[in-house]
């Protein structure tokens, strides 16, 4: 076989293998949506789950997933923005900075089950929060912080250095320059990263099994006082999320329609993640256009 022939063969093989990846994704999505969407109904999305009988819904789990997501984003957003500002604006190239960077790298590569167990030990047991939304939100924060911080740092770094010089030349302090000049310009990147990480958090289960718990007590959607025990807003109640629910009914499977419920719930998860992805792209593009005036 001469060089030209092997070039053609190799190109063919590359096409074939890339095509296989596309086919795998198509198969996955089709399988999940095809099996799941028929089970999604208003009843399924709002009814509480059943423990032993069929016909249960995922209402409470769906609410828990969103509540946990919002709570953990509320905690992790300010921390990651401040930490990102430090890394991008204040960190000098020295020993301390390299230790910080290494820690972030280690934290981002830790298995999520280890983060979950750490959360269980520290938040649920030592701090006495028990299996609760608060423990879960804190564990998710630990899981989320390194990626968010790096995203903030990258977004800040992509802002031109002349903007900083301009701010300083106007007599602003470095902090004021960052807050009033750099951060607004970096905002599209930061928000895109946040929505993408929200999608990741939404589907996370391993970090939540032993922090937010595996039970979803019925909620009273008429009482929104956060201190009332069955209130949806109470952060101290155990809260099984959608992803944990899928895991649980499949590995302990006592309900007879486990397959139907998990098909529907998986489809919901995928749809949510797809929406997060589309939203991130759309908002990123839109804000980019608005800020750059293209």
């Amino acid at each position: 076989m001469n060089a030209k022939q092997s070039d053609k063969v190799a190109t063919g093989v590359l096409y074939l293998m890339s095509g296989t990846i596309v086919a795998i994704l198509a198969l996955l999505l089709l399988y999940i949506l095809w099996n799941g969407i028929p089970h999604i109904s208003w009843h399924f999305l709002t009814a509480p789950a059943q423990s032993f009988e069929k016909g249960g819904g995922i209402g409470v789990q769906l609410f828990n997933s969103f509540y946990l997501l919002i709570l953990s984003m509320l905690i992790s957003t300010p921390i990651s923005i401040c930490a990102g500002i430090y890394l991008s604006e204040y960190a000098k190239p020295n020993r301390l900075t390299s230790i910080i960077r290494t820690s972030i790298e280690i934290l981002s590569s830790l298995p999520s089950v280890v983060v979950g167990l750490f959360g269980f030990l520290v938040f649920a047991v030592q701090a006495g929060f028990g299996f609760s939304i608060l423990s879960g939100a804190l564990a998710l924060t630990v899981f989320n912080l390194p990626l968010l911080t790096r995203n903030v740092e990258d977004s800040l770094q992509s802002v031109s250095f002349t903007q900083r010089e301009a701010g300083l030349a106007l007599g602003l302090s470095r902090w004021e320059t960052v807050i009033h000049v750099i951060l607004p310009e970096a905002l599209p990147g930061i928000i895109t990263g946040m929505i993408l990480s929200a999608g990741r958090v939404f589907g996370e289960a391993a970090a939540l099994i032993y922090t937010a718990g595996q039970s979803a007590p019925p909620l009273d959607f008429t009482n929104w006082n956060p201190f009332y025990i069955a209130s949806p807003l109470n952060p101290m109640r155990p809260a099984e999320t959608l992803a944990v629910h899928i895991w649980k009914i499949n590995s302990e499977g006592i309900i007879p329609d486990a397959k139907a419920v998990s098909s529907g719930a998986s489809a919901m998860l995928i749809i949510a993640v797809l929406l997060f992805n589309v939203l991130a792209r759309y908002l990123g593009n839109k804000m980019y256009k608005k800020f750059t005036g293209v």
Partner: protein, 309 residues
């Protein structure tokens, strides 16, 4: 006089802006310290629990790595708890290595396609495909594995369907996007003039890719593969759902077996804090933590050694 004092005072005191600057700097440093503290805390907490198996409960470290009986609640004749973790260790390494072996060629092929063959179509089709594959939650992978791959393995390869083969197939899809996107970065980092020089010598596109671009990108691709392996090693729920969770040494690819993560997720809820069985689970967690650290160190080594100048 009074007026002068006031001016003097305002000159000597730090200005509003410099105060704000200091506060901001302290705030941002506090945030970054928090992250470092969390990392240290994770190591301290998991290590103290994990080591207790060997110091407090008299577990034998050698047994932990070589024996195959996992029943930490009971002790053997000489009074050591039965903490043979070899089945889980073998299981974890088997699924990790096998899934990396399967995923690497596909990832490199997709990366070559995206960088060298058709960047436009790569950006339009493969990029979103890879982003979506990353986005699919691991329990969904587990569920699809359970309802699609396990029956498939059962009918075509025998056994119950649960086991290393099913775990490998699930992990292959899960680490594929990570390895691909990092390989893409590695290929993109190869300078353009390498390709131009090769093509100018009369090499075909494939010869250029195979003999020049891929060789130059080897360190980056190796980093990508190790990164994928570290993902696979730490993945818990998807694997746990398809591997069978029997603490037996895997006999073949379709015999029910277990990984460190699967036994950890299954067992933690059923043991009492501070008991021997609980501490033994924390030892597994510590092993996971150390492996993740090792993968990290490997990645550092490779990227330092093989950096393109």
């Amino acid at each position: 006089m009074q007026q002068q004092d006031k001016i003097r005072e305002s000159m000597l005191k730090p200005s509003q802006a410099s105060k704000r600057e200091r506060h901001g700097k302290i705030l941002s440093f506090a945030a970054i310290s928090l992250i470092v503290i969390v990392v240290v805390a994770i190591f301290v907490f998991v290590a103290t629990r994990g080591i207790a198996t060997f110091t407090v409960d008299k577990g034998n470290l050698w047994d932990f790595f070589t024996k195959t009986t996992w029943n930490p609640g009971q002790t053997d004749k000489s009074g050591h708890p039965l903490i043979g973790a070899l089945p889980m260790i073998v299981g974890s390494f088997a699924v990790t290595l096998l899934s990396a072996v399967v995923a690497t060629p596909f990832a490199i092929a997709a990366a070559i396609y995206m960088v060298e063959i058709s960047p436009r179509r790569g950006y339009k089709i493969l990029q979103p495909v890879i982003e979506l594959l990353v986005g699919i939650p691991s329990v969904v992978y587990g569920f699809v594995g359970l309802s699609l791959i396990v029956p498939f393995v059962r009918t075509h390869f025998g056994g119950t369907g649960f086991g290393i083969l099913a775990g490998t197939m699930v992990l292959f899809v899960m680490i594929l996007p990570t390895v691909t996107s990092m390989s893409v970065d590695a290929l993109r980092a190869v300078p353009r003039y390498y390709r131009e020089a090769s093509l100018a010598l009369g090499a075909t596109r494939w010869q250029t890719i195979y003999k020049v671009v891929l060789r130059a990108a080897v360190p980056g691709i190796m980093t990508a593969v190790i990164f994928g392996m570290s993902r696979a090693f730490g993945e818990a729920l998807a694997v746990q759902m398809v591997i069978g969770n029997a603490t037996l040494l895997p006999q073949n690819l379709v015999s029910p077996s277990s990984t460190l993560t699967s036994i950890l997720t299954m067992g933690m809820g059923n043991s009492v804090m501070g008991s021997v069985s609980n501490n033994a689970l924390w030892s597994l967690a510590l092993l996971l933590l150390l492996m993740s650290l090792l993968f990290n160190i490997l990645i550092h080594r490779i990227s330092k050694k093989g950096a393109l100048h």
